[in-house]
């Protein structure tokens, strides 16, 4: 036996050094390499979206604006939204940490469909190229939500190129989600029953269900939108018998579940890191996994809360409001379980744990303010104000980005074989936590006092 083991170690190469040509990277079907390809491309888009965000903030220094016209500003926040949502937040954790870790955690040699995995990266790159083209050509001014008839009849930007980009990115997401679902169903190691799976896999599974079932709806909606834009005739323009509310229903049927695509993998990362740095098992494993699944299910039933003031019926608004409150239950279960995990454990405050603790605090604040805007009466006052901006940035940036960095730090040695300088990791975590609050907490107050967003 020992001879066999010695033999395998002699030939075992790191996936990083097994083929060093560009070709060996671009044609790889190794999930670990694809994860790194994704990591690089996602980081690029994170910076592009970040530059747009910095320019937005710069423009807000003076009441009249620091750069160009109001239209330039509109283009900036649209590009910030489009890039951050579809090219960073939605793919971020699943395609990098998920791709890298899922087969390792499953005990599989790779994902179920390795070639599809590579194709999904190429689709992402194609979509990214289309997004960059529309950015360089001048951008769009519709906001990331593409509301009609603004988008189809009045906008002067490069709407179609942006729609094409998102459409293609959607198929990339679908391919990734499909791959994870089938892999988790069929490639678990012998003896690994569902309840023995690492909790990160459960959250990937819940994420993938949403990706696979919601993204196609966006695809067709964008096709209808592009058709209307190109031929000046269509289904969402009230001037010709169409209905703009129909667009909002279809768009949010995708885009609200997509919010949970962004945060659920973050939950999974935190659920792995908190036990690791508390020297304890995860408290209430089954509650954590089932709260992931129930968040995924309920996420499909709450889209109407984006349309409380759009003229939908009061009764449907009541139902959507109640359902939106229900999402808070599984989310709170998770937070309590993380705290329960730390309770009585010997907690170490290494960099990943600092990010994770930041996540718990910021996500809790983001989640609780979500209840404000889920309440009908409060939402009428708060909608279209900076309060909403602050709320979802607490979840998306304070929550998701913290979790992404937590995961990157936590698994960095596994991915690269190197350790980062611990002190700088901690400094980064602390700076992000305080910087984030400094930026976004005032927006709650501004919004509450009525400052409109955009």
């Amino acid at each position: 036996m020992s001879a066999v083991i010695a033999d395998t170690t002699k030939h075992a190469k790191s996936y990083l050094t097994d083929g060093t040509t560009i070709r060996s990277w671009l044609l790889t079907t190794d999930h670990k390499r694809i994860a790194l390809l994704y990591l690089g491309s996602i980081t690029l888009f994170f910076f592009i979206g970040g530059i747009a965000a910095a320019l937005i903030r710069y423009n807000l220094i003076a009441p009249r604006g620091m750069i160009g016209s109001a239209e330039t500003y509109n283009r900036l926040f649209t590009m910030h939204g489009v890039v951050m949502v579809w090219f960073f937040l939605i793919p971020a954790v699943p395609v990098t940490l998920g791709n890298f870790l899922a087969p390792l955690m499953l005990g599989a040699r790779d994902l179920a469909f390795p070639k599809l995995n590579l194709i999904s990266w190429y689709l992402y790159i194609l979509a990214g190229a289309a997004a960059l083209y529309s950015l360089i050509a001048g951008g769009v001014d519709t906001g990331w939500t593409f509301y009609t008839p603004l988008t189809t009849a009045y906008s002067k930007g490069h709407v179609v190129a942006t729609i094409v980009a998102i459409f293609i990115a959607g198929f990339s997401s679908i391919a990734t989600g499909l791959n994870f679902i089938i892999s988790i169903h069929t490639l678990r190691a012998p003896g690994m029953t569902w309840y023995k799976m690492p909790v990160f896999l459960w959250s990937l599974y819940a994420t993938s269900v949403i990706l696979v079932l919601a993204t196609p709806v966006l695809g067709m909606t964008l096709l209808l939108l592009a058709f209307e834009r190109i031929f000046h005739i269509g289904v969402f323009d009230p001037a010709i018998g169409g209905d703009p509310l129909l667009f909002q229903h279809l768009f949010w049927f995708y885009s609200h579940p997509a919010v949970y695509v962004m945060i659920l993998p973050g939950f999974g990362v935190i659920s792995e890191i908190v036990p690791a740095f508390s020297n304890k098992g995860l408290f209430g494993y089954k509650f954590v996994v089932w709260s992931s699944i129930s968040i995924a299910v309920i996420s499909f039933l709450v889209w109407g809360h984006h349309m409380f003031v759009a003229g939908t019926s009061l009764y449907s608004a009541l139902v959507f409001s109640i359902l939106s409150f229900m999402v808070a239950v599984p989310s709170a279960i998770k937070v309590f379980n993380w705290i329960g995990t730390m309770h009585g454990g010997s907690v170490r405050f290494d960099a990943p744990m600092l990010y994770a603790l930041g996540f718990i605090g910021l996500f809790t604040l983001g989640g609780l303010t979500g209840l404000f805007v889920a309440a009908l009466a409060a939402d009428v006052h708060l909608t279209q104000t900076y309060f909403v901006v602050a709320h979802f940035h607490y979840v998306m940036v304070g929550g998701m980005v913290s979790a992404y960095f937590a995961g990157l730090h936590f698994w960095w040695p596994k991915i690269t074989g190197r350790i980062y300088p611990e002190i700088w990791g901690r400094v980064g975590a602390v700076i992000i936590f305080f910087g984030f609050n400094l930026n976004f907490f005032p927006q709650f107050l501004l919004g509450y006092y009525g400052m409109p967003r955009r």
Binding site: D110, F113, M220
Partner: protein
């Protein structure tokens, strides 16, 4: 045994394991396709509800005979393909090829009738939703909307048909190289699922285009 190992990918424990994964992958993909077409059908029915007379006026301009013939052509094509699947289950590769060629040709007939004949008529009769649209007031707006759905729906379905033809062609190519046997025919089953799904979409499109509102 050598044949099995040449088709089995390294991440699976057995050929059966691989086949199950591939087939469930296709089923899941078809679920996403359902949700892709879903908003089209929803928007179609919803818009019809608010523009009933316009949609009726539009539907009356469609070519029922071509549509019906095409329905029969497409369903027959799937039937033949499915026969091919049962032939290869029994190990008859030659009959599989014959069935696939039949299914492929019928698919081509569908595309020719749809885009070569019907669409050409539609354009000649100025039914494309543009400024020279043939149907006048009072039903112009509703009929325009109907033809938006008509052209988008048939175009997207047609694209799926073209992908299907490529896939069936790929099956023929591989079958001619004797790659399939009673022991290994997963790609044949997987493509069969897709090819039948394309029918299903058409079976929803057919009444939406040709039947509803025709008698109004």
């Amino acid at each position: 045994m050598s044949e099995v190992s040449s088709t089995q990918e390294f991440q699976y424990s057995s050929p059966r394991h691989q086949a199950e994964s591939a087939i469930s992958g296709m089923w899941l993909f078809l679920a996403t396709e359902m949700l892709f077409f879903g908003p089209l059908f929803l928007a179609w029915i919803y818009s019809r509800h608010w523009n009933q007379q316009g949609f009726d006026a539009g539907a009356q301009q469609t070519e029922l005979i071509i549509g019906t013939v095409n329905t029969l052509v497409l369903v027959t094509s799937s039937l033949i393909y499915t026969l091919g699947v049962s032939f290869i289950e029994a190990g008859d590769s030659r009959k599989l090829i014959q069935c696939c060629v039949g299914a492929w040709l019928l698919g081509l007939v569908f595309l020719w009738l749809k885009f070569g004949v019907e669409w050409r008529h539609d354009f000649e009769r100025r039914l494309f939703p543009a400024s020279d649209f043939a149907i006048d007031d009072p039903h112009r707006d509703g009929a325009l909307l109907f033809f938006v759905f008509y052209f988008l729906g048939t175009a997207v379905h047609g694209l799926h048909m073209i992908v299907g033809l490529i896939l069936v062609g790929w099956i023929i190519f591989r079958a001619r190289r004797k790659e399939f046997s009673a022991g290994f025919y997963t790609p044949v089953s997987v493509v069969g699922l897709y090819w039948s799904f394309v029918d299903m979409v058409w079976i929803v499109l057919y009444p939406l285009i040709y039947l509803i509102g025709r008698g109004a």
